[in-house]
Symmetry: C2
Subunit: 335 residues, 2 copies
DNA sequence: ACGTGGCATTGCAACGTTGCAAACTGGGTA
DNA sequence: TACCCAGTTTGCAACGTTGCAATGCCACGT
């Protein structure tokens, strides 16, 4: 028993295939009586439109791709939740791909090598430069999340990372901290986000008349808890340890928190901690994380709205859109 | 400039459309010289197969759906990461849908109302009973994650929740705890998972000759941090508070952990805590969570393998497959 | 009686691909 | 020389849907 199609419905309802199609797609043009009769048959035999055929005919499938480094990092998971919800609002479904931060995979996915016929892509780059993304932006329209402005021909939605980092650092300074470390630098990547945050951090220090200290700018391999533990351990082992740490992600901060705890270093008394992303786990950590909260919901909505506009008009110039953020002050770095 | 298709390639390469198709799908049947010439043209004009057309013709699209309550819960996020990876291994892509634990949405998604032409579904039910899932399992094959055995005609992959809960509770008993609470009961849902864990918990108590105490079996609305905080607050306010708590998810346990911390209750000294799921955040909490660790990777792999088999033969009887789990002992409930 | 216009319904073709079976090629064999 | 076979290549049709344009129908006004 193969799946029912328009023809099956049409035969049983005694109408043409086209009319059934109309009942499904534009009920208002069909006479009420006909519509009801056809609808009854549809329900009866459980007809469902064949998406592939529809997509082939219409030229679009209402499916978008979400390309992220890893879906299991809380930030991306939360973002994905918002993207999926916002997509549903628009009648789209979301296909998830993971790049694992591998530049080749990012390239492949953008090139559509594995592009499963999506109509558009929301791309959170890790290793690819904006220029390369711009160049590769081929078949399906792409919206880039994060990165810095002026990427060129691609649409981009992000928070002001530099300003956010400046605020976070300024908050620590306002709390009387003077020896503030930054954790999360990724020198081996051309990813701009970490660079932006580092820049903001340095600006805030400079504005307070403090000199940057190489020993306090800590590179990490990835942005997981483990990297935060390691980085913090290194900082605490310094002859002159910091009195505050600005972590570029909440995961790093949570790792740092644990590194402090196991060494008996008190947060925030001995070291204040600020994170970035405002993931759920940070709100319930002990102490709760002070963090930069990007408006993820808006980020997702704006990304999809932008994608929709570009799908409608591919000739639009590349746009750079800013999403608001807020510094959420909690226990790990109180006022 | 519309996207290149087989005909474009064929014309430029001076061969038939069918030969180009062969170069793409079965290179070995094409003579080396022809193959190379065609391949060159393909690369040149950047031809990519049209997935919709292929899917229409072949009758499958190599896309599966992952239907979960919420993709941003760490457990589901981690599971999704494994599913996406395992799917890629099989040449599939994954489409994510969220039910938000809404029974109607679960029904709709299963019925394929929004089923975007997926070839199969990995379904993590929340509110739907196995029987209902079984009944609804219509168009695309479904593999159910979790739930209890004997669901009927549907394939099911899960850990032995009851045994796992028994082990977790037994571990607390072995540590000398006698007043052990269980947090995570969901009386308003027909979901079986919580019930299984509760059963295991009770069995362990009974085996130790301890009576169950209603006050220690705490229902929750959802399974988030906030619910854990609330539940733990209630338990600590009891005239006779527990000396150990078994939480049905790590998120609940992390919430409970915080509730203890803000009240100055020491973990594990005053109260021991065991979680469930082994999410990354639990490994870096302070104290690190003792928890039941399901083999998520294997769970994902087995689910997809099962799905593949069912896609190959829809007449197979429903199978119940078990995935191993392990109790990971950490600081929140040491030996 | 006839034309007009609006509404409802219809047939045809095409989207890009692949299954099937037939057709062609060249060299080897009877 | 006629024939056959294996290796290549090809044409045709069909997957299920929808855009387009045309048709049929009926009530209405003149």
């Amino acid at each position: 028993m193969t799946r029912a199609n328009l023809r099956d419905v049409a035969e049983r309802a005694g109408v043409s295939v086209r009319t059934v199609s109309n009942v499904v797609n534009a009920p208002e043009v069909v006479a009420a009586a006909t519509r009801e009769r056809v609808q009854r048959v549809i329900d009866e035999i459980g007809y469902r439109p064949n998406i592939a055929a529809r997509q082939l005919r219409r030229g679009r499938g209402d499916v978008i791709g979400l390309v992220v480094p890893e879906i299991d990092s809380p930030y991306f998971a939360e973002l994905a939740a918002h993207v999926v919800r916002a997509a549903e609002e628009l009648g789209w479904t979301v296909l998830v791909e993971q790049t694992d931060g591998d530049p080749d995979r990012e390239r492949d996915l953008l090139d559509g090598a594995r592009g499963h016929g999506v109509d558009g892509v929301v791309f959170s780059p890790w290793a690819l430069t904006p220029a390369e993304v711009s160049r590769r932006a081929g078949a399906p329209p792409v919206v880039v999340l994060g990165e810095q402005a002026g990427s060129g021909h691609v649409d981009r939605v992000a928070i002001d990372n530099r300003a956010a980092a400046r605020e976070a650092t300024a908050h620590l300074l306002a709390g009387g901290r003077r020896r503030i470390a930054a954790v999360g630098i990724q020198p081996h990547l051309s990813n701009q986000t970490a660079g932006q945050r580092l820049a903001g951090y340095r600006e805030a220090l400079a504005a307070a008349g403090l000199a940057a200290d190489d020993a306090l700018e800590v590179p990490v391999d990835r942005l997981h808890h483990a990297d935060g533990v390691e980085a913090m351990a290194g900082l605490l082992a310094l002859p002159e340890p910091p009195d505050a740490v600005f972590c570029f992600t909440d995961q790093l901060a949570l790792g740092a928190l644990r590194a402090c705890a196991v060494r008996g270093v008190r947060v925030p008394d001995d070291v204040a901690l600020v994170g970035f992303d405002d993931i759920e786990a940070g709100r319930y950590a002990v102490p709760a994380l002070t963090t930069v909260a990007p408006d993820k919901e808006r980020l997702a909505e704006l990304a999809l709205a932008t994608l929709a506009e570009r799908m409608a008009d591919r000739s639009l110039p590349g746009r750079d859109l800013l999403v608001p953020h807020a510094l959420v002050v909690r226990e790990s770095a109180p006022t």
